[in-house]
């Protein structure tokens, strides 16, 4: 058997699943840590899908969490308000998964619509449009009473578990990777590299920009739905500008254009942010200094500044790990 032809990424993910499950069953891993792992995996979906738009196609988007919000509210409304699913009923799993996909599809449609006006814009201008769009989505949720208005959509059943989220993250990475390594993905890369030259080697740049935006929004919608069913809440503030910037930071810290980088940064920064909370509290207890958990954001921001100063291409640059890369391509 040819070792090179093994599906390395699948094997890595299965091993990860087994390790986490075993550690959790033997209570080495507590519920809190498992929650952080789940959050990290959701951020993997958000970061890799934003990387498709920003890193691969080179279109600077600042409203990614807006799409996640669409997914969260659509799937949350479906499971909570319309279908009134209950976690105790095992038959609810399928409608839940369909609701998540519905959230992704609606988000993709919104991404498709947003794609068009953004086509004539580049760089900073595109960033402002996507920023505005994200804020519009947030404001809309804030003002619809049926989904809780500023209180948020409460009482969403906790359907998201480690297995569901891991499978979703795995599929997201595989689909985006396969896309990048195809002729369609190369067309997207060429837009990032030089849009005029792309057009002059016969790439329909308009079509591929809209496609990247649609795909990115779809996965963001899926991530939003999973998040809402994990923390049992969909709240307007979760999907604001600051949250979009968090995902943006992940792709820059990991390396723009590298899926490996996005995955590592999603885990690294989620754990770092939580770890700092605990670390600073421990430091305050030990030294008696008047510092609270809120200082973690200062340290977090400083770390990011250092990453950018000393490694401005991010953790991975544009390289891809051999685990993620597809074997047949080379």
């Amino acid at each position: 058997m040819n070792v090179r032809k093994l599906p390395r990424f699948l094997i890595a993910v299965v091993l990860f699943y087994i390790v986490v499950e075993v550690l959790y069953r033997t209570e080495i891993l507590n519920g809190y840590l498992l929650h952080i792992i789940n959050l990290s995996l959701i951020y993997v979906i958000l970061a890799t899908s934003l990387n498709l738009i920003n890193g691969i196609t080179g279109q600077f988007s600042l409203g990614h969490m807006g799409f996640a919000g669409v997914g969260a509210y659509v799937s949350g409304s479906l499971t909570t308000l319309i279908l009134k699913l209950s976690v105790t009923n095992p038959a609810s799993m399928l409608p839940f998964l369909l609701s998540i996909i519905a959230g992704g599809v609606v988000a993709a449609f919104v991404g498709f619509l947003i794609g068009f006006p953004s086509l004539r814009l580049k760089g900073d201008y595109l960033a402002i449009v996507t920023l505005g769009f994200g804020e519009i989505i947030r404001t809309i949720f804030n003002n619809i009473d049926a989904v809780g208005g500023p209180r948020g959509l409460l009482g969403i059943p906790k359907f998201s578990n480690f297995t569901v989220i891991l499978v979703a993250a795995f599929l997201t990475v595989v689909i985006i990777r396969n896309l990048i390594e195809s002729s369609h993905g190369r067309a997207m890369l060429s837009i990032r590299e030089n849009e005029l030259a792309a057009e002059l080697v016969c790439v329909n740049t308009t079509r591929y920009k809209v496609m990247a935006s649609t795909f990115g929004a779809f996965f963001a919608g899926i991530a939003g739905g999973l998040l809402a069913h994990l923390i049992q809440l969909a709240h307007p503030t979760q999907f604001g500008f600051i949250k979009s910037v968090e995902v943006l930071i992940m792709i820059y810290a990991g390396g723009v254009g590298s899926l490996t980088g996005s995955i590592l940064a999603a885990f690294g920064l989620t754990f770092l942010s939580e770890g700092l909370r605990l670390g600073i509290r421990a430091l305050a207890d030990a030294t008696g200094l008047p510092i609270g958990g809120e200082w973690r954001m200062v340290v977090y921001a400083l770390l990011l500044i250092f990453i950018m100063l000393f490694r401005n291409e991010g953790l991975m640059g544009m390289r891809e790990s051999r685990i993620i890369k597809n074997v047949e391509v080379d």
């Binding site: 689909i175 396969n178 896309l179 195809s182 002729s183 369609h184 993905g185 190369r186 067309a187 890369l189 060429s190 590299e193 030089n194 005029l196 030259a197 792309a198 057009e199 002059l200 080697v201 016969c202 790439v203 329909n204 740049t205 496609m211 254009g257 544009m318 597809n326 047949e328 391509v329």
Partner: protein, 256 residues
């Protein structure tokens, strides 16, 4: 026989600036034609008008009897006109072979669905694209650079890579914008042989802009000279070389 490319009364203004004025040109199939003129005379603008980067103010551009004026660039390339750029536009962060593979994009037929699921049809198509890309790199003496990140290649090789990329779109007409710029004499010799080879092996008509008189006089069968967007001379290389208006445009008026 109808010419491959026929340009009639092409005129273009940038605001109040007249960049190209009443440009007429016919290029028969299988020929190598040259366009020369001093800096800023509108040569590259003409290429940009042909390839749809600018929409001409006036005039008609017929390619194989079809009016391509006002078409989007990628459709014009699809019709069979490829080009290179004066100041290289390589996909710098991608490998040399990917630069070529991207240019094979429009001939690939695998759907998104087939690509994501990696169906057998997708795989065999990818293999074919890779093989063709390697063949082109080989022709350009770049096969040992296939996996190299393009921006790390030396200048002369980048020029050849850009020509290979243009050829990968399977054009009938290739527009070369100063292909010999920045090349040393040996590279210029190789380039001239290469251009003749491209014409013969790929059955591609060549239209080139060049400052290198050696290239222009050596391989072009017909030369058009423009200055300030207007044609000042046209004809066989030997005739153009001695045309007083051409000498004046390049060197200035003879003192009296």
């Amino acid at each position: 026989m109808t010419p491959l490319l026929k340009i009639e009364h092409l005129t273009h203004f940038f605001g109040g600036l007249r960049a190209v004025y009443d440009f007429n040109f016919e290029i028969p199939e299988g020929s190598i034609y040259g366009l020369i003129g001093p800096n800023g005379s509108g040569k590259t603008t003409i290429f940009n008008l042909i390839t749809g980067i600018y929409d001409p103010t006036e005039g008609a551009i017929n390619f194989q009897g079809e009016n391509i004026k006002g078409m989007k660039s990628f459709r014009i390339v699809h019709k069979g006109i490829a080009r290179t750029f004066q100041n290289l536009r390589i996909f710098g962060n991608l490998s040399a072979i990917d630069n070529i593979r991207i240019a094979r994009h429009y001939t690939t037929t695998s759907s998104l669905f087939a690509s994501i699921l990696r169906l057998p049809s997708f795989k065999s198509e990818e293999r074919a694209v890779k093989r063709e890309a390697l063949e082109l790199l080989d022709l350009m003496h770049l096969s040992n650079r296939a996996m190299e990140t393009a921006k790390n290649l030396p200048y002369g090789e980048l020029r050849r890579l850009e020509i290979a990329r243009a050829l990968a779109t399977k054009p009938k007409l290739i527009l070369l914008d100063e292909p010999a710029a920045g090349m040393n004499p040996k590279e210029v010799d190789d380039l001239m042989r290469l251009i003749s080879r491209i014409r013969d092996e790929f059955k591609v008509t060549v239209f080139l802009i060049e400052h290198h008189m050696q290239v222009i006089m050596g391989i072009c069968e017909w030369i058009k000279v423009i200055d300030f967007g207007e044609t000042i001379a046209e004809g066989l290389p030997d005739k153009v070389k001695n045309d007083p208006r051409v000498l004046e445009a390049y060197l200035g008026k003879r003192g009296t």
